[in-house]
């Protein structure tokens, strides 16, 4: 099953590498990983999406904790949380499809961030599942290029 893990790490060079290398060395699945600064400049937050049975996930959490640079490891999966991913996508723009494309952008609550004569670049924000659906639907309209941020997540406030 899919797990969403939030990891607070020392904001030091090599921290990301240590985590990523641990996943590959132990053969754990790593679906996405994203990292950025937090309210404390010395600490970064990583959001990791992984998949595995409970026994594997328990090893993942323990191995993450074991790294000296990790300060806190939280499995958000079964806790109240908000999860978001950003999708940037450039589509072919043709006269015949123009109308449908704009309609779909509305359906997915996307935004147009750039438009040229033959292409349009949009952004969509949502859960990774929503991003998957968005991509699936737009495939029929000629995706030229796309980039996903990977999930970021946080506890819901009290």
């Amino acid at each position: 099953m899919k797990h969403l893990i939030s990891v607070l790490v020392e904001n030091k060079f090599g921290s990301l590498n240590r985590v990523a290398a641990m996943f590959s060395a132990r053969g754990f699945n790593l679906e996405s990983i994203s990292i950025g600064e937090t309210e404390d400049a010395e600490i970064s937050r990583m959001t990791i999406v992984t998949r595995g049975e409970d026994q594997i996930i328990s090893q993942v959490l323990k191995q993450l904790n074991r790294l000296v640079d990790t300060i806190k490891v939280i499995d958000l999966t079964r806790q109240p949380h908000v999860e978001r991913e950003l999708l940037l996508m450039t589509l072919k723009l043709t006269k015949t499809q123009q109308h449908e494309i704009f309609e779909l952008i509305n359906v997915f609550k996307g935004k147009v961030v750039d438009i040229k004569q033959k292409s349009i670049t949009i952004e969509v924000i949502g859960s990774p599942e929503k991003i998957n659906t968005t991509i699936d639907i737009f495939r029929g309209y000629g995706i030229k290029e796309l980039a996903r941020s990977g999930a970021v997540a946080i506890h819901r406030g009290e």
């Binding site: 020392e10 240590r18 290398a21 060395a25 090893q59 191995q63 904790n65």
Partner: protein, 573 residues
């Protein structure tokens, strides 16, 4: 000794920090990026620098020293090739959880990343084989980084830590401040076991009819042998040990079952198979111990105490995990153990029947020499009191079977990584640390060649190690697998035509050397070697070529697959 508050350069800070950590020996080799450190070392008298002849040798020496004494071993090597030469030794210490701090020189900070002369990204290379590693970026951080490195190497589950020191940092100056305490917010190992878990374990132990201790190297590094002995004897519980756990419980005690696993004793493996309670302490359910995990200790309720939570439930699902230090666990058990315990006499009788059914034996004919005899004879002559170092191969497994280990820190061997070439430097390192017990090395003719250069180091420092070369003219352990599982295709394992005359080689290094090829000459050579303390001595034991180590549970097999002897006995010569 420099006081805090003085202005020192990076090299002086390095030396001063080692002083603060009470370092006795540095195993090292100089080079371009370390010239400043070696300039400083020239006048240092209170820390001894041991010049090795290959950086891999330095790492194994440091590990041998660490395992014999319990203190962290210290390595100092230059950048680039000096650093990469330490990789095997670091990986070895990581797999066997030995405390070690490796200092590497690095090219100047401004050149890092430029493919500079003798640059290697040793921090990147060693990330997966160190407990942690550091690149020092500012001379002001050097002392604090060194104190963190020693703290990490020795706290919780021990392991190797690497500190990479660019040349400009070693030349720059700052005010020396030695941190009195170490605080690493991401590193808080659980030392104290949870009392509820300990109590639950005690209940289970008291109520078990067929309990078994499965003891690993963690008991040795936690210095918990005394607690283990008290507990096992008081509760009448048999004890089996892993390769690294040997000596945690005296091998000459009736409750000792010797080693378990692939080349473990028949009775230890049968007991694992039959026990109703398995108490694993400081052991990690390695595949060489468990064989097929599904059939490992199938009837047992499993208690697992380990200081590293990642070891728990990794290979085998356990019923009662107890994370914490082994000494804390065993001492805790002694305190809370109920008064009444089950009678274990029937269980011990069952075990003794297995012991009689398939003892560890060998035949010893007059005209041939067997490794088993050599090791048993050394065991007798040293009364089990030696620090025994091995290399990797058949001789290593026979050592586990035929040397009777009585005390902890008596076996120093490469278990997790199985590094040939480990033995000779590790024995030298052990002998630097331990002066009041003989240090003996059992080494194969294959592995001896892998770090033979360190014989010079032993000769130069008059290190009185006894090098018992088990010369079977084969890469014996590989030959054994070829005979059993690979259609007897003895592919590139026969060293008979190419081995040198080891006696002459040793003599050329300035090492005394003897030869023995039958039980009588062997016995006499052992007497002579043990009496010789003016430097190292080597005995070239010309043992039979095609001997095999039994019992053997084939890799991934179950106890029922255990091989007890050759199917079709062949000549050994």
């Amino acid at each position: 000794m420099h006081a805090s508050g003085q202005t020192l350069n990076g090299s002086e800070i390095f030396i001063e920090s080692l002083r603060r950590e009470n370092v006795e020996y540095i195993f090292g080799y100089p080079g371009g990026s370390l010239l400043k450190v070696y300039e400083t070392l020239f006048d240092v008298k209170d820390i001894q620098h041991i010049l090795v002849r290959h950086e891999q040798g330095a790492t194994h020496m440091a590990e041998g020293y660490a395992r014999a004494t319990g203190k962290p071993g210290v390595v100092l090597v230059t950048s680039g090739p000096g650093a990469t030469n330490t990789v095997t030794g670091i990986a070895n210490a990581y797999m066997d959880s030995s405390p070690m701090v490796v200092f590497t020189g690095q090219v100047p900070s401004s050149l890092i990343g430029n493919d500079a002369f003798q640059e290697a990204d040793i921090v990147g290379i060693t990330r997966p084989i160190t407990k942690h590693n550091f690149l020092v970026k500012d001379v002001k951080e050097l002392a604090a980084t060194i104190s963190k490195a020693f703290y990490l190497a020795t706290t919780g589950r021990p392991g190797p830590v690497l500190v990479d020191m660019p040349k400009d940092i070693l030349n720059a100056s700052c005010i020396f401040e030695w941190p009195e305490t170490v605080e690493i917010r991401g590193f808080k190992p659980t030392i104290k076991c949870h009392i509820n878990q300990v109590e639950k374990a005690a209940q289970k132990i008291a109520a078990s009819k067929r309990p078994l201790f499965y003891i690993g190297g963690g008991v040795i590094s936690a210095e918990a042998s005394e607690e283990l002995q008290k507990l096992a004897i008081q509760l009448n519980i048999p004890v089996t040990m892993t390769l690294q756990g040997l000596g945690a419980f005296p091998g000459n005690h009736p409750l000792s079952m010797g080693m378990l696993g692939m080349h473990g004793t028949y009775w230890a493996n049968q007991a694992v198979n039959r026990c109703d309670l398995l108490i694993a302490v400081g052991a990690r359910f390695d595949d060489r111990v468990t064989g097929k995990v599904e059939t490992f200790a199938p009837q047992a309720y499993k208690i697992h105490n380990d200081i590293d939570p990642t070891n728990v439930d990794k290979n085998v699902k356990v019923d009662l995990p107890v994370v914490g230090d082994a000494q804390n666990f065993l001492a805790g058990l002694l305190e809370v153990m109920p008064e009444t315990i089950e009678n274990r006499d029937p269980w011990l009788a069952e075990i003794n029947a297995w012991r009689e059914q398939c003892p560890l034996t060998y035949s010893n004919e007059e005209d041939m020499l067997r490794t088993e005899f050599v090791i048993e004879e050394v065991s007798k002559q040293t009364k089990g009191n030696a620090v025994v170092v091995t290399d990797v191969g058949q001789h290593q497994m026979w050592t586990s079977q035929f040397y009777t280990f009585i005390n902890p820190r008596s076996i120093i061997t490469s278990g997790g990584l199985g590094t040939m070439g480990y033995g000779l430097p590790a024995a030298i390192g052990a002998a630097f640390g331990i002066k009041d017990r003989p240090v003996v090395l059992f080494c194969g003719d294959g592995g001896f060649m892998m770090n033979i250069q360190e014989l010079v180091t032993a000769v130069h420092h008059k290190i009185p190690i006894k090098i018992f070369l088990i010369n079977n003219s084969f890469l014996g352990m590989v030959r054994q697998w070829q005979e059993l599982f690979h259609k007897e295709k003895y592919s590139f394992t026969d060293l008979g035509d190419s081995n040198p005359d080891f006696v002459k080689v040793a003599e050329a290094f300035g090492c005394r050397a003897l030869k023995a090829d039958n039980p009588d000459t062997a016995k006499a050579a052992i007497v002579e070697a043990l009496a010789w303390n003016d430097g190292p001595i080597l005995v070239d034991f010309r043992v039979v070529k095609k001997d095999m180590v039994f019992p053997m549970v084939p890799a991934g097999g179950s106890i029922s697959d255990m091989l007890l002897a050759r199917l079709n006995p062949k000549t050994m010569v």
